[in-house]
């Protein structure tokens, strides 16, 4: 190629490129509530990210198709691909935060790393960050984390629920029992350790820790040690992505009983157990929502979206999978927060600040959930200025080779006492480092 040609091409590319770099103003003229979605449909965690994004997106589309939006205000939907990558997530945030007539209603980053990176920015921009079952557990302490919401349950509450379940299974006494935690060696995986250690002191069990380095392709040594040396009574796993399938296979390979192996909610979906085939039968998982395929909300999805070819999932059968349901739950909580805000401020597009008010005054009662067609999928929630977690509940489900079945009743994490003190202590440490004064909630 001659030099001149190259130069011309480079110049051309530069001109086109500079234009393309500027984010297209996302549907700026249209009137509606702008609800951006951060998704990861590619990259190492795509198998989990795809159903999550489909569930959330489908529910938002369902509201538009069935009800004409939230309280009559149509929802403007936009997806942005993060690939589970923090800098991409920040880019998505900056690109979308001013979209629509009133800016983004809220962000659900679906990644602990992105959540951490956005907390300060979003607080400064007054846009709620809704980290449902991930992110900072201490953000439940609303006096410090004004714009971050952790409903319905944090990792710390989840760890507590798991121990409660094990205690019930062991007949109410854990002293002398051995419990092992297998965790992804990252910020995410380390979250439950402090809670489990505290409970070990209280309940008298022995806790042994097994970090698995990212990405967790190779866990033979971990499971040899568990299966042949430590031989714990129970194994709890805080895993993510390919680590889960590998762990289940290796646990089966050392003959560890699946009934005594509990994954957390990011280690308890179909992509985690299906590749392990039959060895996964009996594997348990902790969820902060139920398992269901045929609730009213699922049927509505099928009649309003999939019957018209408007659904996001490749196949209708994916409606009702664990992560798809989690996407729905995420969309339900965020849209109900918007609705709460609209009920207060009037039926027009809400700003982030107003949605924050909506989150803090969100009260999802059992009747409301019934009306939304979600009974059995969610436990009631009620958030407040000080409590951004909302008293969600958890339950254990079990894989039978085809589907997840509930294996326990709803468990209420023991938040009074230890957990709420831990939230406050950790949040105050954050406030001190940042030089923040907690707001007054009365």
């Amino acid at each position: 190629m001659s030099f001149r040609k190259t130069l011309t091409m480079a110049a051309l590319a530069g001109v086109v490129g500079a234009g393309a770099l500027a984010p297209a103003p996302a549907q700026a003229q249209e009137n509606g509530q702008y609800m951006p979605q951060m998704v990861y449909r590619t990259g190492p965690y795509a198998p989990n990210g795809i159903p999550l994004a489909n569930g959330e997106g489908d529910y938002l589309r369902l509201l538009n198709e069935r009800d004409g939006g939230i309280n009559g205000v149509p929802i403007l939907i936009e997806e942005c691909e993060t690939a589970y990558n923090t800098d991409r997530g920040v880019e998505c945030y900056e690109k979308m935060k001013n979209g629509g007539p009133t800016g983004a209603a809220q962000f659900s980053p679906y990644s602990t790393g992105i959540t951490y990176a956005l907390i300060e920015r979003a607080t400064a921009d007054q846009i709620p960050i809704f980290s449902m079952g991930y992110g900072r557990a201490d953000a439940s302490y609303g006096k410090v984390f004004e714009y971050v919401f952790t409903a319905p349950a944090t990792y710390w509450a989840g760890a507590d629920a798991a121990i409660q379940y094990i205690k019930a299974e062991e007949g109410g006494d854990l002293s002398g029992k051995k419990i092992a935690l297998v965790y992804h060696d990252s910020a995410y995986g380390k979250e439950p350790i402090a809670t489990l250690e505290h409970l070990a002191g209280q309940e008298g069990y022995n806790l042994s820790l097994f970090p698995v380095p990212h990405p967790g392709l190779e866990q033979k040594s971990t499971w040899l040690k568990i299966g042949r040396q430590v031989r714990p009574d129970w194994v709890i796993m805080w895993g993510w992505g390919v680590m889960n399938q590998t762990a289940i296979k290796e646990a089966a390979a050392v003959g560890f009983p699946m009934e005594r192996f509990i994954g957390n909610w990011w280690a308890g979906a179909e992509p985690d157990v299906r590749p392990a085939g039959e060895s996964a039968i009996g594997y348990k998982a902790l969820q902060f929502h139920g398992v269901a395929h045929d609730l009213k909300v699922h049927q509505d999805m099928k009649t309003h979206l999939y019957a018209n070819g408007k659904g996001l999932a490749d196949d209708e059968s994916q409606v009702g999978e664990v992560l798809y349901n989690r996407g729905i739950v995420n969309a339900v909580i965020s849209t109900e927060a918007v609705r709460t805000a609209m009920d207060h401020f009037g039926n027009k597009p809400m700003t982030g600040e107003q949605v924050q008010w909506g989150f803090e005054n969100l009260n999802l009662t059992a009747e409301r959930l019934e009306a939304l067609g979600l009974t059995g999928l969610m436990s009631p929630l009620s958030l407040s200025c000080a409590d951004h977690e909302g008293g969600g509940q958890a339950r254990i489900v079990q894989w039978d080779g085809e589907d997840w079945r509930p294996a326990s009743d709803w468990i209420v994490p023991n938040r009074a006492g230890f957990l709420s003190e831990a939230y406050e202590a950790s949040a105050m440490q954050y406030a001190n480092e940042k030089g923040l004064t907690p707001r007054d909630c009365n």
């Binding site: 490129g17 393309a20 691909e81 800098d87 900056e94 940042k434 030089g435």
Partner: protein, 358 residues
Amino acid sequence: MIYREAGQFKTSYARDGGLYPIRQDRYGLIVLLLVAVFAVPMMSEYWLVTIFLPFLVMAVAALGLNILTGYAGQLSLGTGGFMACGAYAAYKLATAFPDLNIVLVFLGAGLVSALVGILFGIPSLRIKGFYLAVATLAAQFFILWLLNKVPWFVNYSPSGVISAPPRAIFGDIYVTGATATPEAKYLFALAVAALLALAAKNLTRCAIGRSWMAIRDMDIAAEIIGIKPMATKLGAFAISSFYCGIAGAMWAFIYTSSVEANAFEISRSFQVLFMVIIGGLGSILGSFLGAAFIVLLPILLKNAPEMVGLSIPVDVIAHIEFMIFGALIIFFLIVEPHGLARLWQIGKEKLRLWPFPY
């Protein structure tokens, strides 16, 4: 014609050895800096935060790696590890001494990384080429593991995430933390990057730089003419890690403002290596061009379909983006293996004669 230096007479040795002997270059740089200082901060927050900040941070990291790989010839895949070192050192310094000025914090972070760099540079005395590259991966994995494992590094926070405290450069002009404006962050990052680039440019022109290049071109011959391989190689590792450490501190404090060790995993090291090679090995300008290319290209590819009004699902865009990114790397290597900096140089030669090439 544009680059004609006819009529520019140099009357002293100092001027002959100046950084930019050609007047056009000098003026061009001044204009560029003026634009960077005055015009760029007028742009929208999106541009500043998602394009210029990562560009400046990664440019500093690329400078660091270019010193090591481009000038001293030691291939390294441990950049991410050294950046992590800088980020965590800066966090420890900033939280342990709340009154310490942010500039000193960054310098300290760089020095800590430099020490770590020397430590992991020792194998380079015996191992060369790709063997060394893979050996530096040991640094990458070990440093991240250590930062993940020892709670002291993160002030005993349960999740191991560090979050940059707000710090002002002077008075109440905050450059880190939530209260810092994007403009302040950008200008601070620009100042750091510009100063470090100036330092690197001069370093590579003095005796140290010449000995690096001698070692790169043939280490045995260099040793015979009296260049000490140990001091030279370890010096390159130290200075390179100093740059990478500062880049890591900038990443954690200015760009994302909170970070966990995994943000500096192996793919970060590769990203920096791309920048150096696409930009041009052994070129300061190349580090900046490469950083711009690698930071901008994915954002550009991602937003391009929207620009022309196509609505393609995000996952398809992401997949195609991967393919185009890969294909472009190969394309550039085939068209100009010496990188964008070389392309610029050829361009200058042509412009000198244009429009009458013969």
